[in-house]
């Protein structure tokens, strides 16, 4: 007897075959290179089993880049299809799959891991810690995210992609209208990755509360740390809602329950509520860390303290609080009534106030400063006007009656791309150029970086600015094609040109990375940009233990203070002797446990209960064996520290 869904297993289609071939070729070459250079052991020992937050951060960023490529290709396919009216490059089914994966991947598998990666790289260094609070859990977070993303992407070649949109509204996403495994991939891929994210939130929160260097009070923390702290709280409150929603829809699809179905008392609108109770805080989860990056970068390249530090902290908290009170603005048009719409409209507008405070504080951080236009700074600077445009149109969308006209139109699409690309992605690029030397010990090339910046920034506006107008012309999102004669054609063509411009710009970044690995300016001081926070107080890249001596802190901008401040004298380190450093052991279990999760969830996707059950059993086995492990940590000896600190151990 053939298992259920067996006939869905292999997807056909010329692009799928190309993808199949590419995946096989890429896998063969990776395996080949690793075998030829005898790097398997190195890969396992140094990377797959590591619990070092810096390496985990780098792996997050690497995976996020791969997902950026995938989501970007989806975007280009959409823009190619929409370039001219009545186009047949993609059919309806195919287009529906592509916009679903584009949205899901860009938000959950690109933006979030990119930011979690940067947080991992910088935050523990900025608070003067040796690692995060739970390094082992950190590895579990990484690998559950990674295999969640892998599971989701597998749908493209095995079984077929989900096609109900990244919002996955019931009943469209229910078993009646979306048969086949595609939607199951969405549910289980997201649930697995969400598990990792939730663990990250807890991990970062505890790290910041418990592991700050002596003297670093909450109000002395760098703004990036503050934004991580607030983001973690958002994650902890929001992600359980997603987990519940995904699980309930899985029950509907796999076990025939009627929670969101149209019949037997199911409530499709309940999905919409749950999704956005998570979804709105989620957009702040991907924007607040970018706010943090901006605060670091603008301060550093203006040579100034952050303007209005307390107001910045206050507005972060206000935004986080309000972000749980606005979710209905995603469906003003669902007939909740005038009172509900008024409440959620006004609460949404209120968010503009703390956000505006932040914008003005960033601008005034440059006041009486010395503004250096490095690539990292350019990205942060460009963030301000694009985010303001996105924010202003966001306020326009909050006007409930006006939203009846914008809802689901390209006006909305323009708005959130200004927030998520002009905000999050610009912030991420800023962070990458800024912390690149800290991650890899060399700077990225400035000329290539500026090409990347200008091309991307101009193309970005070319792509998304016309969308505002198209929305007002009545074009709605998720249309795979449109008839001629509506005045949409020229604007769509313009957007497609812009989209390819962005793709082209990204090649400059790739070339830059490859060029800089060989020729990039090495950062020998550890302080690549005349920085302000503690990550610049150690070598680039930082040693496994981050700081040979845990730094003492006497004020904000601790490293700047040590270099130039009035408290300089206090920081003068007496040549204290080294003491052995206590560090956690590497472990292969997080990786293996995520593999077991992956196998189990793959079984669930295809309703192969035996596979699902055995996989889960393996997961429990790994949890069980962990709880009996006694050999979990080690000491780094004084000799080894001396060797590293004298430069001998640096690659």
């Amino acid at each position: 007897m053939l298992p259920h869904y067996f006939n869905h297993l292999f997807v056909s289609g010329i692009d799928i075959y190309i993808a199949d071939v590419l995946i096989i070729l890429a896998s063969i070459s990776i395996v080949g290179v690793l075998t030829y250079f005898k790097k398997w052991k190195w890969l396992w020992r140094e990377w797959l089993t590591t619990v070092d937050h810096k390496k985990i951060g780098i792996m997050y960023i690497l995976a996020a880049f791969a997902m950026f490529f995938r989501g970007g290709m989806d975007g280009l396919m959409m823009r190619t299809q929409l370039a001219v009216p009545n186009n047949h490059f993609l059919g309806a089914q195919h287009y529906d799959e592509v916009f679903t994966t584009h949205g899901t991947i860009m938000i959950l598998f690109m933006a979030m891991p990119m930011l979690i990666g940067l947080i991992n790289v910088a935050m523990p260094l900025q608070i003067g810690a040796r690692d995060v609070a739970f390094p082992y859990l950190n590895a579990i977070s990484l690998w559950t995210f990674f295999f969640g993303a892998l599971l989701f992407n597998l749908s493209f070649v095995i079984g077929g992609s989900p096609d109900a949109g990244w919002t996955s509204y019931a009943p469209l996403a229910g078993p009646t209208f979306s048969p086949g495994p595609g939607e199951n991939y969405y549910l289980f891929g997201l649930n697995l990755a969400g598990l990792g994210t939730l663990a990250s939130g807890i991990n970062f929160l505890v790290t910041i509360i418990k592991m700050r260097a002596p003297g670093m009070t909450l109000m002395r923390m760098p703004m990036f740390v503050w934004s991580t702290l607030i983001t973690s709280i958002l994650i902890i409150f929001a992600f359980p809602v997603l987990t519940v929603a995904l699980s309930l829809l899985s029950f509907d699809r796999l076990f025939g329950s009627h929670i969101f179905s149209m019949t037997h008392g199911g409530m499709p609108m309940m999905w919409v509520n749950l999704f956005w109770i998570w979804g709105h805080p989620e957009v702040y989860i991907v924007i607040l860390p970018a706010f943090g990056i901006l605060s670091e970068v603008i301060g550093t390249f203006s040579g100034k303290k952050l303007f209005g530090y307390s107001a910045m902290v206050g507005s972060l908290i206000a935004i986080a609080f309000l972000s749980f009170l606005v979710w209905v603005h995603h469906f003003f048009t669902m007939g909740a009534g005038a009172t509900v719409n008024s409440f959620f409209g006004v609460s949404t507008m209120l968010i503009a106030i703390p956000t505006g405070v932040k914008i003005f504080n960033w601008i005034f951080t440059m006041y009486k400063g010395k503004v250096r236009f490095n690539t990292a700074m350019l990205w942060s600077l460009a963030f301000i006007p694009t985010f303001v445009i996105g924010g202003m149109t966001g306020v326009m969308l909050a006007v409930a009656p006006a939203d009846y006209q914008y809802h689901n139109s390209y006006f909305l699409i323009a708005h959130f791309h200004y927030m998520l690309v002009g905000g999050t992605v610009f912030g991420v690029f800023s962070g990458l150029y800024y912390w690149w030397p800290k991650m890899f010990g060399m700077k990225l090339n400035e000329t290539l970086g500026k090409w990347h910046f200008w091309l991307f920034m101009i193309s970005f506006n070319l792509t998304f600015l016309p969308m505002y107008l198209l929305g007002l012309m009545g074009m709605t999102r998720r249309m795979y094609t449109y008839p001629p004669g509506l005045g949409w054609s020229h604007l769509n063509m313009l957007e497609t040109v812009g989209a390819f411009g962005q793709g082209f710009a990204m090649m400059f970044m790739m070339v830059n990375i490859i060029w800089s690995i060989k020729n990039g300016e090495r950062d020998l001081t550890g302080d690549a940009w005349d920085g302000r926070a503690l990550e610049w107080a150690t070598t680039s890249p930082a040693p496994e233990y981050n700081f040979a001596h845990i730094p003492m802190i006497y004020g904000r901008d601790a490293f700047w203070d040590r270099k130039y401040g009035k408290d300089k004298a206090k920081y003068t380190l007496k040549a204290k002797p080294y003491t052995p450093i206590h560090m956690p052991n590497n472990s292969g279990r997080p990786f293996l446990m995520a593999v077991a999760f992956f196998i189990s969830f793959f079984g669930f996707v295809f309703e192969w209960w035996l596979v699902a059950g055995l996989g889960l059993l393996a997961v429990f086995f790994f949890m069980f064996s962990r709880s009996f492990e006694t050999n979990t940590d080690h000491y780094i000896s004084v000799e080894e520290i001396e060797h590293t600190e004298s430069g001998g151990g640096r690659s």
Partner: protein, 285 residues
């Protein structure tokens, strides 16, 4: 900060930018900015008001931003003289840029709330409203006129100057019913009947479409709304009554259950059991 002269220049630039955008927005293809009925007009007024407020904010922010970039660039001669790394903030300024946005939000919130409540009620009119029951199916629009007891598929005829109460529901995935020139959209949801008031000022043809993704045929869920004078409308109803076939239960079921597009159709009557309103839960898909 900025000299009064510069400030006046900025204000002038702002006003001309706003008016230019508004003027270009009068092109009839930009449906939302070209309201053809009282509901769309109310929404348009709010759109313009929110745009003006935001344009004001934008100009202030962009101006300040450009000023800081130019004035405090590291390459400017004499930058060392103005450089002061120890500034931490300025309470007066921070209060200013908290209070002004609060005022702007109030200026926006009041008309927002007023209009939100106003749109609950039918637009003021000398005529009695008519009702059209709208059902979205995969992938077609079904319009039933309960008072006239006629049905159309994928096109709609309404009398101009008469408020129309649309009762919206769905027998499949959710969708939204949107005729931008007449007013904003509202969801169609299985198991729910949502109301939406629209009215056309004068006779004309307006394009409507489904705006919430509902599957493969979604992009084609487009329909025309023909607004006619009351006399023409009555004529049309009697023509439909006399010239078009009645909808049978079998056809009605096929329309609802068959996943596919549909040409425009007209029926002189429809079976009572085909009414989707208020009985979705029993329909059983």
């Amino acid at each position: 900060m900025l000299s009064p002269k510069k400030r006046r220049g900025l204000t002038f630039a702002a006003l001309s930018a706003v008016s230019m955008l508004m003027l270009s927005g009068c092109g009839s293809q930009i449906a939302v900015l070209h309201p053809e009925g009282p509901v769309a007009q109310k929404e348009f007024n709010l759109i313009v008001w929110s745009f003006v407020l935001m344009a004001f904010v934008g100009i202030v922010v962009f101006g300040l931003f450009a000023y800081m970039l130019i004035k405090y660039r590291a390459s400017r001669p004499g930058i060392e003289k103005t450089y002061d790394p120890n500034i931490e903030g300025n309470t007066k300024l921070e209060v200013t840029w908290t209070v002004i946005p609060v005022l702007i939000v109030i200026a926006l919130a009041i008309p927002t709330v007023q209009t939100t409540y106003a749109l609950k009620d039918p637009p003021a009119s000398a005529h009695d409203p008519i009702e059209v029951d709208v059902t979205s199916a995969d992938w077609k629009w079904i319009f039933q006129y309960p008072a006239q007891h006629i049905e159309t598929v994928n096109y709609l005829v309404i009398p101009a100057g008469v408020p129309v109460k649309f009762m919206l529901t769905s027998v499949g995935p959710m969708n939204t019913f949107w005729v931008p020139e007449l007013g904003g959209m509202e969801f169609t949801m299985p198991g729910a009947d949502l109301g939406l008031w629209l009215e056309a000022d004068k006779p004309g043809v307006y394009l409507g479409r489904g705006a919430n993704f509902s599957g493969k045929g979604f992009a084609h869920m487009q329909f025309n709304v023909y607004s006619k004078t009351q006399t023409q409308f009555n004529q049309w109803v009697s023509t439909v009554k006399s010239k078009y076939p009645a909808l049978t239960m079998n056809e009605a079921t096929y329309l609802v259950k068959h996943q596919g597009l549909s040409p425009i159709m007209t029926f002189s009557s429809y079976p009572a059991a085909s009414v989707a309103q208020n009985q979705n839960t029993q329909m059983g898909m």
